[in-house]
């Protein structure tokens, strides 16, 4: 395994965790917020699938999802669900950011697109929780 495929493997693990997290988030939301969570969940699944294809193509066994992931705090209502959504996106963004270093070409493009999408979703969730404009300088 190269540094690039190592980084993509870490990104895949982060996507698995985000997908698990959105299952918890979605269970506490309704209406527009639920739709936002479902869109985010679908985007993370799409990224996961692309990573599995990418790693498999170069003969690397893609890391599987864990049965469960520890949550950073109890999710009991819509507010805590949206706070978790912010964290899920921030954590995934941080992993993708790291992946930019060792990757090149199409892999770096994949990482940059993923980082940008995570940053956009994190900002949207911050705005949903009342933070304006909800941006951060270095997502």
């Amino acid at each position: 395994m190269s540094a690039a495929t190592d980084a993509l493997g870490s990104a895949l693990a982060a996507e698995h965790a985000a997908i698990f997290g959105y299952g918890v988030v979605g269970a506490r939301l309704t209406g527009a917020a639920l739709a936002q969570a479902q869109q985010a969940d679908a985007a993370h699944r799409d990224r996961r699938d692309r990573l599995i294809v990418r790693l498999t193509k170069v003969g690397i066994e893609a890391p599987a999802a864990l049965p469960a992931y520890a949550l950073p705090f109890p999710v009991t209502d819509p507010a805590s669900a949206q706070r978790l959504a912010v964290q899920l996106e921030e954590r995934a963004a941080a992993i993708w950011r790291v992946a930019l270093g060792p990757t090149t070409g199409h892999d770096r493009r994949l990482a940059l697109d993923a980082l940008t999408d995570c940053a956009l979703r994190a900002a949207r969730w911050r705005r949903a929780t009342g933070q304006q404009p909800g941006t951060v300088p270095l997502p």
Partner: protein, 167 residues
């Protein structure tokens, strides 16, 4: 050596006709000056620009743009100040990465940005600038060495969130 200095300065690769002529012109000028060129005053080789320099320049221009817009339309300040703060933080991060410690050392090189004659137009201009800035930072990220790619990617992602806020 009087004659070699201007020639060396101009001829980097194979000597083209223009370079040779330029060198001769420089040599003639040196003769016209009629003195010896002290060795320590030889023109220094031009330093290669730092790979992050274009992104720094773009960030400075963006900061100018925001400041000019907020000066022209103080009512927009509440909305724009957090975005301006992001750009300032980006500038600090770029300078740290370049090892340029003093923020005051690099004054803004661009002239004060012009502002649209109405607030909606001014916000639209910022939106367009953020879009162009995102594309520029993304291209820089994709072309960067490993050390700079994460920072440039984060700056591109930050600008993408600004585009959405200003939409």
């Amino acid at each position: 050596m009087v004659f070699t200095v201007p020639v060396r300065k101009r001829v980097a690769g194979p000597a083209s006709r223009r370079a040779v002529l330029g060198g001769l012109a420089g040599a003639a000028a040196a003769v016209a000056l009629g003195g010896c060129w002290p060795a320590r005053d030889k023109p220094a080789a031009r330093a290669t620009p730092h790979p992050l320099a274009p992104v720094v320049a773009g960030t400075l221009a963006m900061i100018d743009r925001y400041q000019a817009t907020m000066t022209a339309y103080p009512d927009l300040s509440t909305r724009l100040a957090p975005l301006l703060a992001d750009h300032r933080a980006n500038l600090d991060a770029l300078r740290r990465a370049m090892g340029t410690p003093s923020p005051s050392a690099t004054a803004s090189a661009s002239a004060s940005a012009s502002v649209a004659p109405d607030p909606a137009g001014a916000v639209a201009a910022l939106h367009a600038a953020e879009q162009a800035g995102q594309a520029g930072a993304a291209a820089a990220c994709l072309a960067a060495v490993a050390d700079y790619a994460p920072l440039l990617g984060s700056i591109a992602a930050c600008r993408a969130t600004h585009v959405e806020v200003l939409s």
